[in-house]
């Protein structure tokens, strides 16, 4: 099982993603620097959290315009599974790979805490491993996690089962408590919570393990 993590300047959860993938696949992921023009041939790509380009201008905006993302777009169309956590989700929306936008938290404050979530769609390729389990807790740690999309988009996401995770107790003002969504084809997941920080009982719990097993196992 080969995986990769795309690293932008100040993508600082790259190590979190690297540790999680190494732990679950038994093999270090390939760390891909944003200046590369082509992704290596892998089975799964993670866009990590962090503050790419300092979150300057808008979170994820500058990273989304990098060349590696152009290549990612092409491979996404061909069905490559991709997940963006936190800043990775912001990058995916800014790149237009996922709909909507992530705005400043309603409280205007950065928030870091364990966040209870509900798995809304247990059939997505990122959640099958949960076997119908509905409640999980993942850490959240973000300033701009307030999910917004226009009504038409939201209706479409809901109807298609693209809303995969909802907050149980909305921490940031997201519409419909949306915490994570997939694209229409279902091969791209974006979510603000950090499942990669929930793969170690001594760190953030173990609720995230099944997410990785689901997407990797389905391959």
């Amino acid at each position: 099982m080969r995986t990769a993590v795309i690293v932008f300047p100040a993508s600082n959860c790259d190590r979190d993603a690297q540790s999680a993938l190494a732990k679950i696949t038994g093999r270090d992921p390939i760390m891909v620097w944003h200046r590369e023009t082509e992704l290596p041939d892998v089975d799964f790509v993670v866009i990590p959290g962090g503050f790419s380009y300092g979150d300057y201008l808008r979170s994820g905006a500058i990273a989304a315009r990098s060349e590696i993302i152009s290549d990612l777009k092409k491979k996404v169309e061909k069905g490559l599974p991709v997940a963006g956590f936190c800043n990775g989700f912001q990058v995916l929306t800014e790149a237009g790979i996922l709909p909507g936008a992530l705005m400043r938290n309603k409280s205007l404050k950065y928030i870091c805490k364990p966040q209870p979530l509900t798995i809304v769609n247990s059939k997505s390729r990122f959640t099958t491993g949960y076997n119908g389990q509905k409640d999980v807790t993942f850490p959240i740690a973000h300033h701009d996690g307030n999910y917004y999309a226009d009504k038409k988009t939201i209706d479409r996401l809901e109807k298609n089962g693209q809303v995969v995770f909802r907050y149980n107790g909305n921490p940031n003002g997201s519409i419909n408590d949306i915490a994570g969504i997939t694209n229409e084809a279902g091969n791209v997941l974006g979510m603000m919570p950090h499942p990669e920080r929930a793969v170690d009982p001594l760190h953030g719990g173990t609720d995230g393990i099944e997410l990785f097993k689901s997407v990797l196992g389905a391959l």
């Binding site: 300047p9 100040a10 600082n12 540790s19 503050f51 404050k109 950065y110 928030i111 870091c112 740690a141």
Partner: protein, 742 residues
């Protein structure tokens, strides 16, 4: 600017130099200095850079030990944690800038301390912050809290280093002068530790990071001069932090450090290019020549004076091995950072600056350090306070009210509102942080089974009442907090915040605290490896309470074997290690319930004494119990005594606690007394007897003081409150305060 300014007595005075100091400059130069040279002497001899009031006292500290690789004198202290790993750490203040501009002041404080750590080759793995604000009712307090916390989070979160713990106090003594002390802990390989000495002549001097602007010129002298109400009006340019550049700087430096290109490296902190170049040359025993035209500049028309004194952030100076220039250019260009070769080391022992083809400074380097003033300021000890007998302190009229009051008073109230704004988990190794309310944060050494424990502590009200005893207590409390999680305490860093040292009573506080701290360090074999002094923390002649904040670092060999407060299980027995006499002098109970510190009452009693020998024995025993898995939870007894400790254990574990068995000690003094050297343990029923008997065999007092379980937090004959009600009071205060409208 350089030639035209005449050096009049006024100009000398404006630079904070005394007549005597100026005489020395004239003598060492054999001529009048020009303005650049005067500026350089002025910042190098400022309190901030020269430690002129404190140096002779700091020299007494225990600074060596079997695990010390580098003590004070470098950018940060270095300790050996085995397996070729080194932990590098330091704490520093950013008090004055944070009062003027809380967000940027705090942010740049975090940035600065991280640079001190990664400049030595360590990747920062954890940040801590020790904060002191004015009383909540002061009109500035709320916005200062909001700004400082946002600034610390804004910087640390963006750089991607977890902020894992800290402490926060509120007291009228900080109304006009808050304290923002930041600590950073980094991890390096022992054979890849970098120092600042610029050894050898003819080596290239490199400047990397951000461009130089006119930021914070005179910042170093500002940090060394007392505030008056005008300072807010003068509004010195505060620096803006750029955490994104800092992150790139860390990565780029790490990449260069992996090669063998670097001879010496130093961040540009206070007094920027001046102190970094002078210190590097001085330590290396060389001279240095800089062409200022090569310095990357953000502004046009910058003068040599401005460039040398600028405190623009996110900049480093390094001396490389000849032939490694291109390698450095390539790495820093890759990270899109400014990089320039600005000069070279020389064998002249002089600092020579060129600007537009002219020599604008040519001075010997040695006097900048050797002749820096080293004052023996007069100091008088703080008068002894009376001891308050437990029987002379009245019990509360209503125990439930007293307990609620203490648990929700600003110093004890939960700081969740603060630490939820900090990313505590990034980097995948935070094993315990503020989140559990624990005594020390625990951060794993990446890829291993080892961990470091980190804590910061200070009890300013003890230090105010008795600086020597307070100094002992500060060090002992960090020691205890490390032992509480199962870590072997190794070494400390400190940040000594005091008022104006020119006043003998303030200097007396300083000298007293240092003496007490040093005594504790020696008794506990717990050396000081780095630190920082911040003086002149006063406004309009009112000094802050003496606040020698201490950051302690310890080692956990096997991270599976650590303790937190959260592990307590229903049915566990509560065992108290250490002797309880019911010491209420300088206690929170005295302040919050009896109103001792109210201006109209103003009663100050002797703080609890610390018995350093039993401190050491108790710590060793608790560590052993944790290692042998004899205890399910541990918490030390500090502010608010046993009652607060048991309540906090209840909050963290979600289990009620009930206390019982005060014996001969008056009930209120047993509950709220702040006798030192004590640990509250939750022990499985089957282990109670051995835990107690072994303690006794070691000469330690150990008693059963209650039980874990149920929905209430209670003490027999005193208070009985539901866990949820008490927790609401504890959790509610800070968010309520921050939400109140002005």
């Amino acid at each position: 600017m350089s030639k035209k300014i005449k050096i009049t007595p006024e100009v000398v005075k404006e630079h904070g130099l005394s007549e005597g100091e100026y005489e020395i400059i004239l003598d060492r130069l054999g001529r009048e200095p020009n303005i650049n040279e005067l500026g350089i002497f002025s910042v190098m001899w400022s309190e901030h850079c020269s430690y002129k009031s404190s140096r002779r006292h700091l020299g007494k500290f225990l600074t060596t030990g079997k695990r010390v690789i580098q003590g004070p004198g470098e950018n940060a202290g270095v300790i050996d944690i085995g397996d070729n790993h080194a932990i590098i750490f330091k704490m520093e203040s950013h008090n004055h800038p944070s009062y003027i501009e809380p967000y940027q002041g705090a942010a740049t404080g975090v940035g600065g301390i991280m640079r001190d750590v990664f400049t030595m080759g360590a990747r920062p793995i954890a940040n801590m912050n020790a904060l002191r604000f004015g009383e909540p009712s002061h009109p500035k307090t709320k916005s200062l809290v909001a700004g400082v916390v946002a600034g610390i989070g804004g910087y640390g979160n963006c750089v991607g280093v977890p902020t894992v713990g800290g402490e926060t106090n509120f007291h009228a003594g900080y109304n006009g002068n808050i304290l923002v002390n930041a600590m950073c802990v980094g991890l390096a390989d022992q054979d890849k530790v970098f120092y600042s000495a610029a050894k050898g002549a003819g080596n290239p001097v490199f400047y990397v990071g951000s461009k130089t602007g006119r930021d914070g010129i005179h910042g170093a002298t500002m940090a060394s001069a007392e505030f008056d109400d005008d300072s807010e009006e003068k509004r010195p340019t505060v620096q803006v932090g750029d955490p994104f550049t800092e992150k790139l700087l860390i990565e780029a430096c790490m990449e260069l450090m992996a090669t063998d290109a670097i001879i010496g490296i130093q961040d540009m902190g206070a007094a920027g290019l001046t102190s970094s170049s002078v210190e590097m040359a001085d330590k290396g025993g060389v001279g240095i020549e800089i062409n200022l035209d090569k310095v990357p500049q953000r502004e046009t028309e910058m003068t040599p004076y401005e460039m040398m004194l600028s405190e623009s952030q996110e900049r480093m100076l390094m001396v490389l091995k000849p032939g490694k220039e291109q390698l450095a250019f390539d790495i820093f260009n890759k990270w899109e950072l400014d990089v320039a070769q600005i000069g070279k080391t020389t064998d002249t022992g002089r600092l020579v600056l060129k600007h537009k083809r002219k020599t604008v400074c040519d001075i010997p380097i040695a006097p900048l350090g050797d002749d820096a003033p080293n004052l023996d300021r007069p100091h008088v000890p703080t008068p002894q306070r009376d001891v308050l007998a437990a029987s002379d302190a009245r019990p509360p009229t209503d125990y439930n009210d007293a307990m609620l009051k203490i648990m929700s008073c600003p110093d004890v109230a939960s700081k969740r509102w603060i630490w939820e704004q900090y990313d505590r988990h990034v980097m995948a190794d935070t094993m315990d942080s503020s989140q559990s309310g624990g005594d020390a944060a625990i951060v794993r050494v990446h890829g291993t089974n080892k961990a470091v424990a980190i804590t910061t502590d200070c009890t300013p009200r003890y230090c105010y009442a008795d600086p020597v005893e307070g100094g002992r207590q500060v060090v002992a409390e960090t020691y205890r907090n490390l032992c509480s999680v199962g870590a072997e305490p190794i070494a400390i860093t400190d940040c000594l915040n005091f008022g104006n040292p020119e006043r003998p009573e303030i200097m007396g506080q300083f000298v007293g605290c240092v003496e007490g701290m040093n005594e504790a360090c020696r008794a506990l074999d717990y050396p000081v490896v780095s630190g920082n002094v911040s003086l002149y923390n006063e406004t309009n002649g009112v000094a802050i309470p003496p606040t020698p904040a201490v950051g302690g670092v310890g080692l956990i060999d096997d991270v599976e074997k650590h303790a937190t407060l959260a592990g307590a299980k229903a049915g566990d027995t509560l065992v108290l290690i250490g002797k309880t006499e019911g010491w209420l002098g300088s206690s929170l109970y005295g302040r919050e319930v009896l109103g001792h510190e109210r201006p109209d009452v103003a009663l100050f009693y002797a703080p609890p004494p610390v018995d350093l020998a039993s401190e050491k024995a108790a710590g060793a025993y608790v560590r052993r119990l944790i290692r042998d898995r004899r205890v399910t939870a541990v918490h030390d007894c500090s502010d608010g005594g046993l009652a607060v400790s048991a309540a906090e254990m209840a909050f963290s574990s979600g289990q009620g606690t009930s206390l019982k068995g005060h014996g001969d000690v008056p009930l209120h003094a047993w509950l709220f007394g702040e006798d030192q050297g004590r640990y509250l343990l939750a022990v499985d029923e089957n282990s109670v007897n051995p835990v107690i008997s072994t303690a006794q065999s070691k000469g330690l007092e150990a008693r059963i003081v209650g039980k874990v379980g149920g929905d209430n937090v209670s003490a027999d004959g005193a208070y009985d409150l539901t866990l949820s009600k008490l927790k609401d009071a504890n959790e509610g205060w800070l968010p309520g305060f921050m939400a109140e409208t002005a």
